[in-house]
């Protein structure tokens, strides 16, 4: 079964509920793998495993504290290239959407934001125009990058445990001298 990468949103290791919801959603598509960026992974490992993550990819370092968004995108882009996951699920926060947008550019893949459900064949449901219209959409190029709203699905405790895999990336600083 293909992996599904789930970006874990947390505040210094304390996991936000939406991350556990996304692990439950990922389990409906493939094998959930958590991506934990920044400090605090050790404390989070058991909870993530208990909520369905088989693997927890951990990237920690000063870069994640000093910069917004970009280092996380570098980690996800590297993992996508190595694992060819069935999808990448990201919480629909302000940061999450920007991470999704940049990741889509980096891996040349389609992006869908604010999904409330994602089916086994990776069709996303969105409520648009203030909830007046329900849309089903699918990424047609590359690996689907989907941001998911909080409270779309209930977290599921599986009683499992996760294996920690450390990821090292070269963080891409924006060009100081741009091309003009």
């Amino acid at each position: 079964m293909a992996e599904v990468l789930v970006l874990i949103e947390h505040s210094e290791g304390s996991i936000k509920k939406v991350s556990l919801e996304l692990l439950a959603m990922a389990a409906g598509i493939g094998e959930p793998s958590a991506v934990f960026v920044g400090p605090g992974a050790d404390a989070a490992l058991a909870t993530l495993g208990d909520h369905g993550a088989k693997t927890v990819y951990v990237a920690d370092g000063q870069a994640f504290l000093d910069h917004v968004v970009v280092p996380t995108v570098d980690v996800l882009a590297k993992l996508v290239a190595e694992k060819s996951p069935a999808a990448v699920l990201i919480p629909s926060s302000a940061d999450g959407k920007e991470i999704a947008g940049r990741l889509a550019v980096a891996i040349d893949s389609g992006v869908i934001t604010d999904a409330v459900a994602v089916s086994a064949d990776v069709v996303a449901t969105q409520n648009v125009f203030g909830g007046a219209t329900i849309v089903h959409s699918k990424v047609s190029k590359g690996i689907p990058v989907i941001t998911v709203r909080t409270n779309s699905i209930a977290p599921v405790q599986s009683g499992g445990s996760a294996t920690r895999v450390d990821v090292v990336v070269e963080v891409s600083a924006p060009r100081v001298q741009p091309k003009w």
């Binding site: 505040s11 917004v68 968004v69 970009v70 995108v73 926060s93 302000a94 940061d95 959407k97 920007e98 999704a100 947008g101 940049r102 889509a104 550019v105 980096a106 040349d108 893949s109 389609g110 992006v111 869908i112 934001t113 604010d114 069709v123 409520n127 648009v128 125009f129 909830g131 007046a132 219209t133 329900i134 849309v135 089903h136 959409s137 699918k138 990424v139 047609s140 190029k141 590359g142 689907p144 409270n151 209930a154 924006p174 060009r175 100081v176 741009p178 091309k179 003009w180």
Partner: protein, 259 residues
């Protein structure tokens, strides 16, 4: 200081928005077209920066022919020039294509700052500023509710769930501003007249060095399978308190995932 503000023409914020039955794109004729409300904060911010020092503000928009009205409207707030990218092949473009077009149009023009509103009121994706920043390799200074330029250093307050982060970068940079960052001005009569004569470049895809195969509905990175109007709301649940009212309410909140 050369600033470019990217604006989008959208259906009026308060109008009912619809998708087109045939190709699932936005029905642009269904409502009045206006400048995306959040982009007005971006224009205002650009004008303030230029007025505090010196420089020029250019308005850039990608959209059908009618979007030229929105470029003029944004210029009438006090900007100096406009660029409108319009091409039939752009119909149905997604965020990836839009960011590609904007990045191509911006390249080589020497802007110090590129400012966006933090999202459009129709698509509400909030991804285009980040995508343009990624495509141009410029610092991404987004979700700002305070923007300060000092020499070649840019400092913003990036709004977060818990407050704000102070973020610093070099120039040039890509900025997006959130709602209520400032108080957007109304166009003055003088500026409305000036906007009519302001220089406006209307460019096709070929003019910015892109071909039709990289944009538009047929080449989008994602597709809408189907859509439907939300069914009318069913009558609400009425709970009569028979000594167990609190439990019933709790049960309801749990099934609705509120708690």
């Amino acid at each position: 200081m050369k600033i470019c503000v990217c604006v989008k023409q959208v259906p009026d914020s308060w109008a009912e928005k619809k998708l087109t039955a045939g190709d699932s794109t936005l029905d642009r004729a269904a409502a009045d077209r206006v400048v995306n409300e959040l982009d007005e904060y971006a224009v205002e911010e650009a004008l303030r920066i230029v007025e505090a020092g010196e420089g020029e503000v250019t308005i850039l928009s990608m959209g059908p022919d009618e979007a030229a009205d929105s470029v003029r409207k944004a210029i009438s707030m006090g900007a100096h020039a406009g660029i409108h990218i319009s091409d039939p092949a752009l119909h149905g473009s997604d965020a990836l294509a839009t960011s590609l077009v904007l990045a191509k149009a911006l390249e080589g023009r020497g802007f110090d700052l590129i400012i966006f509103g933090s999202e459009s009121t129709d698509a509400r994706m909030s991804v285009v500023p980040a995508m343009v920043s990624a495509r141009l390799g410029l610092p991404q200074m987004t979700f700002a509710n305070k923007v300060e330029v000092s020499g070649s250093t840019l400092t913003i307050h990036r709004v977060t769930d818990y407050g704000y982060d102070e973020v610093q970068s070099s120039l040039p940079a890509v900025v997006s501003v959130v709602e209520k960052t400032n108080e957007p001005r109304y166009p003055s009569f003088k500026n409305i007249m000036a906007a009519k004569k302001a220089p406006m470049e209307t460019l096709s895809l070929a003019d910015i060095g892109l071909d039709a195969a990289s944009v538009g509905l047929a080449n989008a990175w994602s597709e809408v399978k189907d859509f439907a109007e939300r069914p009318a709301k069913a009558k609400g649940t009425i709970i009569t308190d028979e000594g167990n009212g609190a439990e019933k309410i709790e049960e309801f909140l749990v099934t609705q995932k509120f708690i």
